[in-house]
């Protein structure tokens, strides 16, 4: 897409450089967007020139695309909050908060995401039901797993730990003097965090967080293992009925690719827009 270099503020002119043309000024098309167009074009060409099976595949899996996007976006928004709390918790001087968040991060990072998702979907409801039976609380004893809810919860729980580490590292990368200056002016710890540290930390955090979004988009395919009809699952269902591994999986792969490439461009755009001069 088009991008334009931000112009310098008026009082910052250097006389000797007045006549040198500024690099990158004006509009130029970011070359990477062509890749998105290319992949989208490939999908279109395949669907048009060979509607059977390609267009049939696209029609069959398109609701799966919606599920994939829904799970990814909802989980992502929630995990940002978990990451922020977790990051602050990891930095907390309160021993209990620090211990709890550290244990959380270590636990989550030690178990594969797929295993966690399966655990939430199959094991967690059993625990709730047994608890309900033991305490005679009927709505617990009759708990039925809601696939999408547990999938989102599982992603937020797992990715939240990784986000916590990203937030922690980002906050710690801000020089100590910034917090000292803010506190010296009479700001509370939370005021300093909100107005001084976090706004600066966000710019540091944005690139890895953007990467986590794209990783999440791909990992969302794991919900196919817990009976959720996302894009991957729909692909498997189509395959089970039509036995076309090459065509099906190539198309599924292209669909994921166009989504991740598109997301990567958005992330890149946001990164460039919020870049701060140091």
């Amino acid at each position: 897409m088009f991008s334009r270099r931000k112009s310098e503020s008026p009082e910052f002119k250097v006389p000797e450089l007045e006549n040198v043309p500024e690099a990158g000024v004006g509009y130029h098309i970011d070359a990477w967007w062509w890749l998105v167009v290319l992949v989208a074009g490939l999908i279109a060409i395949l669907s048009i020139t060979k509607p059977d099976p390609y267009w049939r595949i696209v029609l069959f899996v398109r609701d799966g695309i919606g599920v994939t996007i829904l799970i990814t976006i909802v989980s992502f928004v929630l995990m940002i909050f978990v990451g922020m709390l977790g990051g602050l918790g990891r930095l907390s001087t309160n021993k209990l908060i620090n211990l709890v968040t550290t244990l959380y991060v270590e636990l989550v990072r030690g178990i594969p995401l797929l295993v966690q998702l399966i655990w939430w979907y199959f094991a967690f409801p059993v625990i709730v039901r047994e608890l309900g039976q033991a305490t005679h609380i009927s709505f617990l004893a009759n708990y039925e797993a809601n696939a999408i809810f547990l999938a989102i919860f599982g992603f937020v729980f797992c990715y939240g730990a990784y986000m916590s580490e990203i937030f922690r590292a980002g906050i710690q990368s801000i020089p100590k003097g910034q917090m000292e200056a803010a506190r010296s002016l009479g700001m509370s710890y939370f005021q300093a965090m909100r107005h001084v540290i976090l706004p600066q930390a966000i710019r540091v955090i944005l690139p890895p967080v953007g990467n986590e979004f794209i990783a999440l988009l791909k990992d969302s395919s794991l919900v196919s293992a817990v009976a959720l009809a996302d894009l991957t699952r729909r692909g498997r269902e189509f395959m089970a009925a039509n036995f076309d591994p090459l065509q099906v999986w190539t198309m599924i792969a292209l669909l994921y690719l166009v989504m991740t490439l598109f997301s990567a461009r958005i992330v890149n755009y946001i990164e460039r827009r919020t870049k701060i001069e140091r």
Partner: protein, 225 residues
């Protein structure tokens, strides 16, 4: 620090000198509790710091200027000045803006209001930092080696601002190596070494007739150039 007792009177300008590691910065930073101390007490304008329920309230009355300026990099100069005024002193935007403009004029760089810290020179950044501290109307200003990180040609502009401040009667505690400034502005010089106050007195006494041996040795190294 090992057993330091210090009184600073309102309107007094105290300059603390000494070799590195002597505890000068630590002492200064104890005053607004940026450093914790193991025993003893600090009273600022009648408020006992150790028992201060809300350290944030006390810090509003103490202005601090750092060696590395510590301006908020993501905010313009104007926003740097206005931020604490608005969220700590709860002033309106208009009031804060007016006070900020007046202070920027006072420190000599009103044209920089919309610049970012990275776009102004070190000396200008430090003057903004002083203005930012003054914007909170503190009763006492602390300066932690304010010119030590500056290129030589920019030191004077900062010291001039500090001189003006001293002449206006601001209570100042300054840790500095700038002996010229100390001689001109200080009511009292304090020489510290290895965590203790070795000697203190008016500049013309301490600089020309120091009574302690350690003071003499330190001054002979500094005052020669």
């Amino acid at each position: 620090m090992r057993g330091v007792t210090l009184d600073v009177k309102r309107g007094e300008v105290v300059v603390i000198v000494g070799p590195s590691g002597s505890g000068k910065s630590t002492l200064l930073r104890c005053i607004n509790r940026l450093e914790q101390y193991d025993s003893g007490q600090i009273t600022v304008d009648g408020i006992l710091l150790h028992g201060a329920q809300n350290i944030n309230l006390v810090r509003q009355e103490i202005g601090m200027v750092f060696q590395s300026f510590n301006l908020f990099a993501h905010l313009t100069v104007m926003d740097n000045l206005m931020l604490a005024q608005k969220i700590v002193r709860k002033r309106s935007t208009d009031e804060a803006r007016k006070i900020s403009m007046d202070l920027l004029k006072k420190v000599g760089i009103p044209e920089k209001i919309n610049a970012y810290p990275s776009q102004v020179s070190g000396g200008q950044q430090q003057r903004v930092a002083i203005a930012r501290a003054l914007a909170m109307n503190p009763r006492i200003m602390l300066f932690d080696e304010p010119t030590s990180a500056l290129d030589p040609e920019m030191i004077k502009e900062v010291l001039d601002v500090m001189m003006d401040l001293a002449k206006e009667g601001m209570t100042m505690v300054v840790v500095s190596h700038e002996m010229g400034f100390a001689r001109a502005a200080a009511n009292r010089i304090i020489f510290m070494d290895e965590g203790q106050i070795i000697e203190q007195g008016p500049p013309n006494v301490v600089f020309t007739h120091p009574s302690q041996e350690r003071t003499k040795r330190f001054l002979s190294k500094i005052l020669d150039h």
